[in-house]
Subunit: 483 residues, 2 copies
Amino acid sequence: MIYINDKSELPIYQQIYEQIKEDIIKGVLVEGDKLNSTRALAKELCVSRNTVENSYYQLSIEGYVESLPGSGFIVKNINEELFLYPNESSDELHKNIVKGNESSLFNDDPLLYKYNFQYGNFDDSTFPYSLWRRLTAEALLSIDTKKINFYNHKQGEPGLRMEIMNYLKIFRGVSCTAEQIVICSGNQHALDLICKIFSKCSPEIAIEEPGYDGSRIVFENNDFEIHPISVKSDGINISELENSSAKIVYITPSHQFPTGIIMPIQNRIHLLHWANQNDGVIIEDDYDSEFRYHSRPIPSLQSIDKNERVIYLGTFSKALSPGLRMSYMILPKWLLSKYNQLFNSYYPTVPWLQQKIISLYMSGGHWERHLRKVRLSYKKKHDTLIQTLTSLMGDKVIIHGNNAGLHIVLEFVNGEKQDWLIETAKAYKIKVYPISQFWYTKENYSNNMILMGFSMLNEEEIIEAVTILKKIWFNQKDTEAVT
Amino acid sequence: MIYINDKSELPIYQQIYEQIKEDIIKGVLVEGDKLNSTRALAKELCVSRNTVENSYYQLSIEGYVESLPGSGFIVKNINEELFLYPNESSDELHKNIVKGNESSLFNDDPLLYKYNFQYGNFDDSTFPYSLWRRLTAEALLSIDTKKINFYNHKQGEPGLRMEIMNYLKIFRGVSCTAEQIVICSGNQHALDLICKIFSKCSPEIAIEEPGYDGSRIVFENNDFEIHPISVKSDGINISELENSSAKIVYITPSHQFPTGIIMPIQNRIHLLHWANQNDGVIIEDDYDSEFRYHSRPIPSLQSIDKNERVIYLGTFSKALSPGLRMSYMILPKWLLSKYNQLFNSYYPTVPWLQQKIISLYMSGGHWERHLRKVRLSYKKKHDTLIQTLTSLMGDKVIIHGNNAGLHIVLEFVNGEKQDWLIETAKAYKIKVYPISQFWYTKENYSNNMILMGFSMLNEEEIIEAVTILKKIWFNQKDTEAVT
């Protein structure tokens, strides 16, 4: 018996469809049963025949019934036992079900601390909000705005690539054509593409020890064999690299992450020589090259490479905003055919509109002005942090990686332990960060360092926080008075 | 001799730095050479001593010189032979250099044709331009707009995931929590994540033959063994699937791509049964489920799966815009721990601002209104195309996959060849598309079909184009008069 609810939001044809479907699933109607004729059911329910026909048509295209000439609509066998009583006994995987926890979605707010020495995020003062609104409008009115409804070029918008090419040429000495540039959704995406390019011929990678774990995990997830190479005071240990079987090395030569070491020119030449001799490839991650406070930026390795040995990675995450999820990679020309062969049917990953907005942002000169502005702002924060640490903590700490970037590493000469330092700070609503995850071989880490980013705090906050840290870390009897 | 050019845009300290660096690279200055004292050089060049110190400092941090107490600045050995004369002889890779062709960047304009039956792109009438401007402003003024400067949750914005969850529950019967949803940069990105989840345990995948090549290439690039399974008139051949060793199958059950076949309920149950029996996983790509013109949408496979066998994929590319590069995947709960283990250190790939805008778009009811509007628009185009093809080409063609989606497949009963059909149309500025690439095993393709998308053309254009196609394909003696 089919029941029509006039108050339901469901259309009548759908109510009929649902009830007949339910009867078939439950076995009330079984294979071979004939549905009422559309005329009869329409009359019975006081609805139009067309409505009933719609219901039957839907049941028919989904396979619950079939229309047989001369016989009307006949119920088909749907094997309802399988439908109602799924076989769970053979199900090994099912036992591992993780209980969902909706609240965990909302639980990673970096603003829970009063002083957050987070690396990577920025306060909202640095983002050009009103300009973004204006450029959005401009992009949506531009001559090529119809591209918002297209699948566009897999390597990214040509106009944006030209802007990046020009920027890199002037500011990083990078020599390339726009054809060599691939716009990516962050450096992890770029590294994933690189892994696919090399996975067949040489799935081994040398990485810096310590080094950036967010890159390492991409190599691991692509089943690359990891060769950790120690970082000395002048950068990656090239003798160790020469003794490894890896032909690809991932490095951060301009500001090694996390130690902040600059690779000197001798080692750069040595590294390029290694690549030439071994058919090697160097992945240069130039993640924060825009920020050097007491000298000019260090020229990129790519700029002194004469043999196309370097894949260059850059990002907008540090200099503009990590929420953009946009970076770029420069492939040597000889890799383009391999890249195109693998990714010919791929689509870009960065939204067209954002590419267009950033293209306008760069061509309008806003990008360079922004860099000058934030470099000055970060320099003040940097100088304040270094001066305060130096004057308050003196010879109890060694500051690594200063004069550049957006973070420092603080080493404790008396061996205070990382986790204790973090926990102690946390009790006073100060968040400083572990560094242990950057070692591939955990035993290589001396466990007496922390990471401090300085982009989220203003100068007053930096002084306040370091003052508290000094007391709680080195002068525990005074801590009562701190808060 | 250092020369200062007062008219140069380069700062003076940089001019000094560049010239000394050049001298070191060229070997004019060699290891052990002492630079002039900063005082002497400043006097010689009539610049401030501070300027010269800046130059020397930069040379020093880059490793060209070193400052020795009491001796001033001494040139270091940079192994300049390697620098100037890179060893190219051992370079196998170098021989494969592809010549860059900048113009190829601009050469893929889909607007070169008068009538373009392209599948996937849309004309700009469907994009909500002015609303997008308004929502952008709203997002940039919203309470969580500071997130634009953060590295946010790897699975995407919680608010957006809640919106998608609610939409899928109502419109696709999909049952999930927001915790199971991962926002992706298109379905290729989603499939790439899925490949990494299963690469260790079961790198074999069953796909539809014919099926979507843009997905297949992702499996191939992840080194999955491909098992093509033929598509019958009721969907993928499950007996063939049962006989293959693949435990994972990728399918498009609601509107098989490209054939348009709907998998009936019997086969859906059968397929779920296969998954239960074999610890199998079904990847359901529900790419164009929003568009069904003469019946309700077909319920998703995920909605009748009681054993968490289905990974569900959906996209905004067809229903809103392919330029957004945004899709989503619903993982079964038991896969979440594996997902989190692999991707714990990953960042999201979709820009925060776009996620926020679409979240506002959905919560404001615009999304449902948009779907109703474009569904009506595409229905008119679809009906016009089907009616015109039927009336003009009659029994010379079979139309596959109509009544849904944004494309049809046209099969030519007299065996006209795909490439001839395309070339003939091209001569009259009509673009129709090949379908051969969707077969993994090319020999399985009968070579007498083409793909026609109908989203880019209006009804008049469809009628005009089909009228021309009829003449040039079936009535060649009349073609003179067509143009």
